[in-house]
Symmetry: C2
């Protein structure tokens, strides 16, 4: 592996401390931050923003989830008035549900475009973590996210160079930012592991207002150990996939997979190590590299992995950093507008596997708002993959953890993924292949194959009662509402 | 204009009559038919299928809507058991809502892939209308739809050559079928009016089992005259667009527009003739050419139009056929997997304008199922554009025609377009720009700007009552259900 850049600070830079950099940010600024999958986000400047005495009402826009320095400390300091497009901390969630933070939940693929061309927000400054910086370039750290678009969009740029992030991370980056529409060219990626850019994000040197040094590590993900249900679900998915590979001509030579972030995604990746792929190449084209993918790479079960972030646990991050020379041959990080690009997901024919809070008997999924109202994290990239994958799989346990509540419901009162997009539902109970099915046929399959056996009679009763009144998608709305309080 | 093919029948062809061709189709066959926007579909063979005495349970898959020979006559003959992905006749609608036809409502962009790689259906035969046919090619008529994918996917092919469709239609066709994933290359279209294919759809000559001749015209669309509300809505949209053009850097040089099929779309196109675009080029990159676009072309208000169908009225079709040499310079028809391609809609930065049955105060749109249950037509291409457009506009009258029912509701009980996708709502009352807004801010804008004044107090009351219980998207589900019966 060639490391082209071997210094953290190159050239004449406006170096300062985090406090001074933070003081330069107006109280009501729109701040675009690096970060995705809870890593690669700025840490020192957000902490300095939280620590000073000033009243603030910031708009904070990230690529995806960021760590506790922003979505805990800065939230608790009351400094965030608006937040886009995703978060994953109890503190940010509480503020969003109290509506003290105005949150807009967006598909992560297009947040860069939303900022540059979509009037989501008018940026004042980008605050970006890097492993190295020069006068007109920076090299991102553990995630790329929407940093290239953010750096382009913002009139001012603050760079945090983080010494705990290895300089060698430059070897995994492939930075390519699509041009502005309407002259945007096709993204020239024809293989998931191809490189079409370089490790550096370039910027107008006039923008660089501050360079700050830090040694604070990412607040990495932690996942629970797989439960019996997770393992059963993974085995059901494995059986479905084996069957699909045999039948689908698109997967004759290779299969590109994507798994949503989380404990279930991690468990699914674990299952794949066991699966018989015959001579097919297995490829990961998704948004997050999780620990399970490292297992697959180590086992030789995966040819390559393309994503936008190293969403690893603390242990996974150590493992990756220690083996970075080896992993960099097979792992590529891209901007989210490439990793999650609709056109690329379509062209590669991805099998997308994402979870949800609940799915209804007709195949609509709610992945964001409990009872239609209370935000969990946000849609993240699940919509990008469910919508554009060749095969879209919704994988979820049939019940909530304690088994008392069914995740298969008559109607979801918030819909993130429509009946037009979901192809297959998998729970620990079984697999419902919805392709080509009418709504009632879908309901029969989902109830019979995916619901927990203890709930099937009640779901059947709903379907029968609703069907009595006719209609393409039979519903009894009063019963659907009453279901929530049973 | 060069007409390369000047004969209807070229070479040694298996010519026969419609009855014999129909008799060759098994009773439970899966039949892929050409057609989109109610034109360019086969007519003689479906009528022959309906006329003979045989019991049939066909699966009929089209690109989009087809005319009465299929979705009226064949439906009334009880010959259709399954139907994908869209229909627009009262008879098909009734059978779908009675569930005597099993219907699956799909995004039209991917129906070709759904058939070839998605296990939507296993095709037995494609029945395709053409203006001319050879031993291994055909030239489509008034729509392209998913015909290239269908011809590729089906093991047998019946071609209907329709003498009422001008041979000169070959001049508007640009046939390009993306390769199979994972080796699918980027679609090399960089300008909406560029040609990247040719007029012919090629096929394996072994597949061609019958060639039938007909002179039966399309059952074309008819639109109501624009109402006062349509005109008011169009004026509101025009004002929004003029403002957006000034503010959005993506539209400095040109603006690519798309309008959904229907009377509202037609009225909106009428409005654009009046609009001041300064020196910007106006481009249409959508799925349907409607009469309003011909007005724009004739007025010099439009540089070019790319679509998958000539969804014209009878009069519009006559006008187009009479002026085809002139129109062919500026009009291109493409397969739906190109016209509605997610990657192209994103790259061109389209302003997509589509209607809906109803929209809720938080920006979710229902465009298919009344009360969550009763199918109208299907999602069509509205999801392709709403999801991938740079600016997604939902344009609808604030009330149903007689004014007694509000189309702005507390909650839609079917969601086709999520809060993550819709950017702007326009009614005859005004414009709600939802970008960057939290759900409650969206509700305030939609109620204040878009709802009919007579309904605003009740919607406000809903929002206030729901807000009392907290949550990111405040809802009171019981009130939302009760709203339906008020």
């Amino acid at each position: 592996m060639t490391v082209a850049v071997d210094e953290r600070f190159v050239g004449d830079l406006p170096r300062t401390d985090a406090e001074r950099a933070a003081a330069s940010i107006p109280a009501d600024a729109t701040v675009l931050v690096s970060g995705f999958g809870s890593v690669g986000y700025p840490k020192a400047v957000p902490l300095a923003l939280a620590a000073d005495e000033r009243e603030r009402a910031l708009t904070v826009v990230s690529g995806g989830s960021v760590g506790e320095e922003i979505d805990v400390t800065l939230v608790e300091a009351g400094a965030i008035a608006r937040r886009y497009p995703f978060q994953a901390t109890p503190q940010a969630r509480a503020a969003i549900n109290d509506r003290t933070i105005a949150f807009s939940d967006r598909n992560v693929s297009t947040v860069g475009d939303d900022v540059q061309y979509g009037r989501l927000a008018t940026p004042d400054v980008a605050v970006v973590e890097a492993v190295a910086v020069g006068e007109d370039w920076l090299i991102p750290s553990t995630s790329i996210g929407q940093t290239p678009a953010f750096v382009e969009a913002a009139p001012a740029l603050i760079v945090e160079v983080n010494r705990t992030q290895p300089l060698a991370l430059q070897a995994v980056h492939d930075v390519y930012r699509p041009e502005a529409p309407p002259a945007r060219q096709p993204i020239p990626l024809t293989e998931p592991d191809e490189r079409i850019g370089d490790a550096k994000i370039r910027f107008d040197p006039e923008k660089l207002t501050a360079v700050v040094e830090t040694s604070r590590p990412d607040s990495t993900y932690s996942f629970r150990e797989p439960t019996d249900d997770d393992r059963a679900l993974a085995a059901q998915f494995g059986a479905f996939l084996a069957d699909e590979l045999r039948r689908n001509p698109a997967f004759e030579q290779s299969v590109p997979l994507q798994f949503g972030v989380g404990s279930i995604g991690n468990a699914l990746m674990g299952e794949l190590v066991e699966l018989e792929f015959d001579d097919r190449e297995v490829i990961y084209f998704g948004e997050v590299i999780q620990d399970g993918l490292l297992d697959m790479l180590d086992a030789g079960a995966l040819r390559c992995a393309s994503a936008t972030t190293l969403a690893l646990t603390e242990e996974g991050q150590r493992r990756f950093f220690d083996g970075i020379d080896r992993y960099a041959d097979d792992v590529v990080l891209r901007p989210t507008d490439v990793s999650n690009d609709a056109g690329l997901i379509n062209r590669f024919g991805v099998v997308g596997v994402n979870s949800a809070i609940e799915v209804d008997i007709y195949g609509h999924a709610n992945s964001t708002n409990v009872r239609g109202s209370r935000m969990i994290n946000g849609i993240g990239g699940s919509g990008d993959f469910n919508r554009n994958a060749l095969v879209s799989v919704c994988a979820l346990p049939s019940t909530l953890d304690d088994g008392s509540l069914s995740r298969i419901v008559p109607m979801t009162f918030h819909v993130d993924h429509t009946e037009h997009d979901l192809d297959v539902v998998v729970t620990e109970q079984g697999v419902a292949d919805l392709r080509g099915c009418s709504p009632v046929e879908r309901a029969e399959r989902i109830i019979d194959e995916c619901a927990h056996p203890s709930v099937r009679p009640r779901l059947r009763e709903y379907l029968d009662a609703a069907s009595a009144s006719g209609g393409h998608i039979p519903h009894d709305l009063q019963r659907a509402v009453d279901w929530l309080d049973q």
